[in-house]
C-alpha cells in the first residue's frame, strides 16, 4: 500500500474514523480516571440506597426479651410501610412540614425576588453592601444559626422578648403554636440571600436592549418588572422553589437543636426526626428505613410533579 492509498483508505472511512479508534486505543484510561470516584460513590451512595430499600422490606425478629437468644430477619413485604403510614406521629410530622412548606417557601421566594428586583433596579444606594449583608447568613451553618436564634428566642436571654414586654406584648417564640414559625424564621433568615443570588444571576442575563425598548415605549418600572423581568426569571424561580421543597421535606437540624429549649418539639416533629428517633431511640431500623424511603420518594414526586406542572403552565 502506497502512502496515497493509505490516505485514500482513511478518507473512505471518514464519517466515523475517530470514535472506533479512540475506543480501542484508550480502553482503560477513562475507567482509571473514573475508578476512585465510582468506588466511593458505590460505597457511600449506591450501597446505602440499596441497603435502605432492603431494610425497609425486612422485619427483624429478636428471640427472647432483648434478643439475647439470637436475632433473625425475614421478608416483611409492605408491613414497615403500612406501619409507618398508620403511625399518627409520622402522619402529623408530614402534615407539619407540608404546612411549613406551603407558607414558608412562597414567603421566602417572594421576599428573595423582591429584594433581587430592588437591588437590580439601580434605585437604591450601596447595592453591593446590601447584597453581601443579605447573603451573609447563608455562610453560617444551620446548627450555628439555630443555636444563635435559640438565644434570641429563650425568655430571660432574648432581647426580642424583653422588647416585646416593653410594649406590653408577651411573645412566646417556643410555644406549641409558634415554634414552627420560629423555625420558619430561621430557615428564611438562612436561605433568602441564597435564593436572591439565584434570581440576581438570572436578572443579569437579561439583555439590556430589552429594557431600553421597554422604556422607549414608556413602560413604568413596575410594568417592566411584571411584564419583562418576572417572566424571564421564571426558570430561576422554579429552580429555587424545587430546592426549597426538597429542603423543607428534609427539615431536621433546626427542630433537633431547638428541641432542648422547646418542649413543644416532640421526638417525631418532622419526618426526618421521626426516622432518626425510630432508628436510634427505638432501634427499629425497618420502620426508620421505610420512613427514609417514603421521604425520598415524596421529594422526587413533589419536585418532578412541580416541574411538570410549571412546564405545562409555561406552554399554555
Amino acid at each position: 500500500m502506497t502512502a496515497t492509498e493509505t490516505v485514500a483508505a482513511e478518507r473512505a472511512s471518514a464519517p466515523a474514523p475517530v470514535r472506533p479508534r479512540r475506543r480501542r486505543k484508550f480502553l482503560g484510561a477513562p475507567w482509571i480516571l473514573l475508578a476512585p470516584f465510582l468506588a466511593l460513590f458505590v460505597l457511600t451512595v449506591l450501597a446505602p440506597v440499596i441497603l435502605a430499600v432492603a431494610q425497609s422490606f425486612t422485619r427483624i425478629n429478636r428471640a427472647g426479651m432483648f434478643g439475647e437468644k439470637g436475632v433473625t430477619s425475614s421478608f416483611a413485604g409492605f408491613d414497615n410501610f403500612t406501619q409507618a403510614l398508620t403511625n399518627s406521629n409520622f402522619i402529623q410530622a408530614i402534615g407539619r412540614v407540608l404546612l411549613f412548606g406551603v407558607v414558608q417557601v412562597p414567603v421566602m421566594t417572594v421576599f428573595a425576588t423582591v429584594l433581587a428586583l430592588l437591588l437590580e433596579s439601580a434605585s437604591a444606594r450601596w447595592p453591593a453592601f446590601f447584597r453581601a449583608a443579605y447573603f451573609l447568613p447563608y455562610g453560617i451553618p444551620g446548627v450555628i444559626a439555630t443555636i444563635l436564634w435559640s438565644f434570641l428566642y429563650v425568655p430571660g436571654l432574648s432581647p426580642l422578648v424583653d422588647a416585646g414586654k416593653l410594649v406590653g406584648l408577651d411573645i412566646d417564640f417556643l410555644g406549641p403554636n409558634t415554634v414552627l414559625w420560629s423555625i420558619a424564621n430561621i430557615v428564611t433568615w438562612t436561605y433568602t440571600g441564597y435564593n436572591m443570588l439565584i434570581v440576581i444571576a438570572q436578572l443579569k442575563s437579561i439583555p439590556s436592549d430589552i429594557y431600553e425598548a421597554a422604556r422607549m415605549d414608556g413602560a413604568s418600572p413596575l410594568r417592566i418588572a411584571t411584564s419583562i423581568q418576572l417572566p424571564l426569571i421564571r426558570p430561576a424561580l422554579v429552580l429555587s422553589l424545587v430546592f426549597s421543597i426538597i429542603g423543607t421535606l428534609q427539615l431536621f437540624v433546626e427542630p433537633q437543636v431547638l428541641h432542648t429549649v422547646s418542649p413543644a418539639i416532640v421526638s417525631e416533629y418532622t419526618p426526618n426526626l421521626s426516622a432518626y428517633t425510630n432508628a436510634f431511640a427505638y432501634n427499629d431500623y425497618g420502620i426508620a428505613s421505610a420512613e427514609a424511603v417514603i421521604i425520598a420518594v415524596a421529594a422526587f414526586v413533589l419536585s418532578f410533579g412541580f416541574l411538570a406542572w410549571t412546564n405545562r403552565k409555561g406552554r399554555s
Partner: protein, 282 residues
Amino acid sequence: MTTRSTGWTVAVTGLLTVVALYFLVPVYWVVIAATKSSGDLFTTPGFWFGRTMELWNNVVQVFTASDHIYLRWLLNSVIYAGGGALVATYLAAAGGYALAKYDFRGRNLVFGIVLGGVLVPSTATALPLFLLFSKLGLTNTYWGVLLPAMVSPFGLYLCRIYAAATVEDSLLESGRLDGAGELRIFHSLVLRGMAPALVTVFLFQLVGIWNNFLLPLIMLADDKLYPITLGLNAWRSEVDRSPEFYPLTVGGLLVSVVPLAIAMIFLQRYWRGGLTDGAVKG
C-alpha cells in the same frame, strides 16, 4: 435610570436598610453577647454592652476549656471540610473529564446512575450509611465522616459539562503526539484549564460538609472527633444544667461565625458563577 427622583431612592434605600437589620441583628447580638459575663448576659439589655468588658476572657475561655477541645473541633472541621472537598473536587474532575472526553461502553449508564445520585437526599442515606460503616468498623472514626465527604455527584455533573464545553480535542491530540500518557495529559494539560469549575465544586462541597450535621451526629460518639457544629451543639445542650456554659457557647459561636461571614462576603461572586452555570444548563 436618570428619571427616578431622589425621594424614590431614599425610600428604597430605607427599606433595604430595614431588611439588612433583620439579617445582621443576630450577628450583632452575638458580638455584643460575647463581651459579657454570664451574669450580665441575663441582667443587661441584649443589644448593648454589659457592665464589664469580658471579650478577651471569654475568648480565652473558649480556647482553653476542657483541654483545648474547641481548637480540636475547629481543626476537625477543617480536616473534614477542607480535606473532603479537596479530594471530592479532584475525583469529580477526573470522572467528569473521563465522561466528557472519552467514548466508551457504559458511559451513559455511569452518567445516568451518578445523576440519580445527585437527586438522592443525603439525609436518606445517612442511616443506612451508619449501618454499613458499623459493619466495616468505620463508625466513630475520622473516615466515617471523611469518606462520604469525598464524593460529590453534583461536582461530577458540573465537571462533565465544563470539560465538554472547554477542553479542546486538539489539546489532547497534541499531548498524545508528544507521547504523553492519558493520565499525564489529564494532570498537566486538562486540570488547569478546568480551574474555574473546580473552584465552584470545591466551595459547594466545602460548605456542604461544614454544614452537615446529621451525618457526624450519627457517626461520631467521641467528642474529640466532633466538627465544630457538633461541638457547639454539645456545649449548647449543657447550658440548662450549668450556666457557665453560656459565655462558652456564645464566645464559641462568635469565633466560628466571624471567619465564615468574612469568607462569605469575599466568595460571593464564585457562587453566582456556579449558580448561573447550573441554572442555564439545567
